[in-house]
Symmetry: C2
Subunit: 254 residues, 2 copies
Amino acid sequence: MEYTVQKLGKLAGVSTRTLRYYDEIGILKPARINSSGYRIYGQKEVDRLQQILFYRELGVSLDRIREIMTAPSFDGVKALHEHHKKLLEKREQIDLLIANVEKTIALTEGRIKMTDKEKFEGFKQKLLDDNEKKYGKEIREKYGEYEVEKSYNKVKNMTQEEYDAVTKLSEEYLSTLAEAFKTGDPAGKQAQKAADLHRQWLTFYWDSYSKEAHAGIAQMYVKDERFKEYYDKEQPGTAEFLRDAILIYTGMKK
Amino acid sequence: MEYTVQKLGKLAGVSTRTLRYYDEIGILKPARINSSGYRIYGQKEVDRLQQILFYRELGVSLDRIREIMTAPSFDGVKALHEHHKKLLEKREQIDLLIANVEKTIALTEGRIKMTDKEKFEGFKQKLLDDNEKKYGKEIREKYGEYEVEKSYNKVKNMTQEEYDAVTKLSEEYLSTLAEAFKTGDPAGKQAQKAADLHRQWLTFYWDSYSKEAHAGIAQMYVKDERFKEYYDKEQPGTAEFLRDAILIYTGMKK
DNA sequence: GTTGACATTGACGTTACGTAAAGGTGTATA
DNA sequence: TATACACCTTTACGTAACGTCAATGTCAAC
């Protein structure tokens, strides 16, 4: 497929001026110029523009983008993996800002207190790069706490004791599962303990327990995207592992 | 607490130049100037800077920020709620970009195909503001498609027919549920049809069906955050509605 | 009394385009 | 065949939100 400035602009969501500017500074040159002097872009240029836009979205200057992309060592696929990582970081930052604004709202309603420092959490993007680890963990802990608090407010129809019990059980279950996963053996002691804890957790919601339904849930964890994603978030493969453990636990598999 | 330019700058993660500029354009004036001509900021200014940074993060120009914040009708709390909404939208955009980069990586590995249009999904932020609804739905549909596709690749252990059937069933179930929700009556015909479709969907994973387990799942949809979030995304209250419908369907509730 | 980290006000530079202005190209229609 | 209209071109000046000197004053400490 060949594109003129406007067509490519519409496709990518940028102005024709931007494309001309990118040509001018040598960051994205058209594949060829036709007899009337029109810029014509091809497949390679489309892909290159996509790369540029990924960088731009992540706040990289056009100068840096040129440096990066024209370097002989430039590896497009590697760059994509970096984009992926950076985007995940950015999402974390947004999550932080969301938590911040939620907290600030709670502050105006007099429900909580906030230090001045907390009021700017999530804004300092650059710091994230520097002392990433320490700062990262610190905030994740805070955010985690806050999530728990939020969840608590929503499950008012559970009694406090019920809530505490199911929360504790859930935590124990998840940590046991995480450890079991490392052993790699779904028939092992740890994995079977996780399966049992899962059963206990389930029976909090079920009046009657059946092996078939339990095994069905296990299948669902793998086959349904939203479950699988949840379990695989920390350690990919966990959903399958859990399924196997439960299938063994329920006697559906040797 | 009182702050000088540098102290406030460090607190908020902005440069002193930025603070002086904000003073210059009248968007954030210090509480007072001390005898040596130093800018001194107080509590009110801290909060105002936080508001400004929220707007800035969302791409609002400083001119617009001034217009908004100096308007007599300006409501700080309302603004916070808007920030919240916008941040959620931004997160969706980031999610789109993440999906995009994942797809692009898959493309380079030859696992999938991608149209040129798909390559730029998630970049067009501005359009989101203009024709928000139409465009928003369009991409959500696509994103949905992609999720399905992804899921498809992962559920290889299902036969094609099984997969098609369960997908169709799932779609029918969700759309029936959405329509039923609008009627507001969990005992109504539509809602009961949704509950029945849900049962059919479940039995795809379960070998044996029990009313108790079905009712238990329904309870779980409300009590567990990650389920509730999923169902309430489009229309808040859907999780509760579904629970009630299923409880009636299973005869657990009148 | 000098050092060093603060603060101040100009003032010019930079990035990534937006926005005309003045004109050529391609094609459908009156 | 003319003309309307939506494209394209280059040239050039404008702008937003600061960064970056430069020249200078302030304050606490040694």
